[in-house]
């Protein structure tokens, strides 16, 4: 059975709004769920905040130049 996923599309937003959208979504992320965050840029400032909150992240560049970050509880 695949894990529940929550989508956050933070493209088209100026910093720090993508970071805010993602962190706010994480606050309500169910246990075992994966958050799929789409951003225009690699979310460099997000990684330390995720680590501090006990999440892991994996970022992949997409063919359209945007980034997809998969975030789950460590």
């Amino acid at each position: 059975m695949s894990a529940e996923t929550v989508e956050v599309d933070a493209r088209g937003l100026e910093p720090p709004q993508p970071l805010m959208r993602i962190l706010e979504a994480l606050a309500g992320l169910p246990d075992g769920a994966v958050l799929r965050a789409r951003t225009d840029r690699r979310p460099m400032h997000l990684y330390p905040l995720l680590a501090e909150r006990g999440f892991t992240a994996e970022t992949q560049e997409q063919s359209d130049g945007s980034f997809l970050t998969l975030i789950r509880r460590a």
Binding site: P16, R42, E58, E61
Partner: protein
């Protein structure tokens, strides 16, 4: 932290305190330099090669522009190029050397003690060496080399050359009488002999040409190069657009480098090839202007915020200043009061107009973000945090831009007319604009020292903020 398919996600956001300490030093130096101009309007209204104008120029260029630019690079380069800073420790040492070097240099230029200028300049140079090494190592880890990284690497190279040229100029203005009294085996003897040889070699060239070359290597090679490179990243970021033509951007950067090498060499040698080299620079700047226009036309965010307008005003000034510089470089142009004062206008509009307006606009982007990140990023999702725009007043931003621009243009007019009265009036308006800017900056830093949070709906007031001493107020 996991590893993504296209690169590691392990990079840490850099510390905000390293860039901010450079920024604070820079924004304190700026009003000091403007105040100096109010007190001594002859700095611009009279011929510029005198100890006081040289001291004030270094206060402005190294104290304000250099501090902010180098501090910002410590934050920007890793984030923009998706890597991490090689060493924050080296950056903190750089800050100490930079402060000591700049303060001592400005003081000793004012007293015209070139030997001490050389000593303090060496401290500054050691700091610049740490900076170049640190960013050079950082650039080596960039996962995808691009036009932004190329421009930053070029700017670092020109900065190194500028500092070396400046030290050589100081060495050329010193006498080495003590060599006669030093015993043959004295440890200082080789260093003094090297400095004396440098002075003898540089003495073959026209001193004015050498100083003009030094000024252009720094002004164009470091600052304009950096503005060009960084804007290829930041302009699309802030307008939600894309670099439109990477080849055109690369060509602009290449022509600026090529042209500057020519300008530097022809100034140094007082060669008649200067207009040709200048044309190459102008061609690079024209291509840059085309790319900026294309980025702006294709942007998704239609509204241009005021921080970006600072930058666009600066680019407008560049379109005036660059051709003026080209005309003033024409071989055989007579050195009249008008032409020498126009040289002052050129330098003033280039540094106080083009570069300073860009830096001030950029500060309205970097400082609120840095302060917000320090004070609020860890509270998102736990508390209601202010938006970036809530950290300062846009009305003050607009008023500050108007006053600074009016002051810079007024002082330029005063310089052109060799009028101390008009320079002083312009400097006063500029100082007022900087005062407004500092008030707005103070508003931002208030959030750094005392963040203000509100509880999220339904959450308890007793929740504790993470990592900051924040005031939590009911919504």
């Amino acid at each position: 932290m996991g590893v993504g398919a296209s690169g590691p996600a392990t990079a840490f956001a850099p510390s905000v305190t390293v860039p901010l300490r450079f920024v604070v030093a820079g924004v304190l130096a700026l009003p000091a330099a403007a105040l100096l101009l109010v007190l001594r309007p002859d700095l611009l209204a009279a011929y510029h090669y005198n100890q006081y104008t040289v001291a004030a120029t270094h206060l402005w260029v190294l104290g304000f522009l250099g501090s902010v630019a180098m501090g910002a690079m410590y934050q920007l380069v890793p984030v923009a190029l998706e890597t991490r800073l090689h060493s924050e420790r080296l950056a903190r040492w750089h800050f100490v050397l930079h402060l000591v070097g700049v303060a001592g240099m400005v003081w000793m230029f004012w007293r015209w003690d070139l030997k001490q200028v050389g000593h303090f300049g060496s401290a500054l140079a050691a700091g610049v060496a740490l900076f170049a090494y640190n960013l050079g190592r950082t650039l080596r880890t960039v996962p995808r080399w691009n036009v932004v990284a190329s421009g930053i690497a070029a700017a670092l190279g020109w900065l190194g050359l500028t500092v070396l040229a400046g030290l050589a100029i100081a060495a050329a203005k010193c006498s080495y009488d003590s060599l006669a009294t030093l015993p043959p085996g004295h440890p200082l003897r080789p260093a003094l002999l090297a400095l004396q040889a440098t002075a003898t070699w540089l003495g073959r060239f026209d001193p004015l040409g050498v100083m003009h070359a030094h000024a252009h290597l720094g002004g164009v090679g470091f600052f304009v190069m950096l503005i060009m490179a960084v804007s290829f990243k930041l302009l699309p970021m802030f307008t939600l657009g894309e670099l439109q033509n990477p080849r055109r951007a690369g060509a602009a950067l290449g022509l600026l480098n090529l042209g500057l090498a020519g300008v530097g060499l022809t100034l140094f040698l007082r060669s008649r090839g200067q207009p040709l080299a200048g044309l190459v620079v102008l061609a690079g700047l024209a291509l840059y202007g085309l790319e900026v226009r294309a980025i702006l036309r294709a942007r998704k965010r239609r509204r241009l915020d005021w921080a970006l307008r600072y930058f666009l005003v600066a680019l407008g000034l560049l379109a005036v200043v660059a051709p003026l510089g080209w005309v003033l470089g024409w071989p055989g142009l007579p050195a009249t009061q008008l032409t020498t004062q126009l040289e002052t206008v050129y330098g003033w509009l280039g540094l106080a107009g083009v570069v300073s307006l860009t830096v001030l606009g950029f500060l309205y982007k970097i400082v609120p973000f840095q302060v917000w990140y320090h004070s609020y990023a860890r509270q998102v999702g736990r508390f209601r945090v202010p938006a970036l725009a809530d950290l300062y007043s846009e009305r003050l931003l607009v008023a500050g831009l108007g006053l600074v621009l009016t002051g810079v243009l007024g002082a330029a007019l005063g310089a052109a007319l060799a009028s101390e009265l008009i320079v002083r009036a312009g400097a006063l308006v500029l100082l007022a604009g900087l005062g407004v800017f500092l008030v707005n900056l103070g508003r931002m830093f208030r959030h750094f020292w005392r963040p203000r949070l509100e509880p999220l709906p339904g959450s308890a007031l007793s929740s504790k903020p993470v990592g900051v001493d924040a005031e939590v107020k009911p919504a």
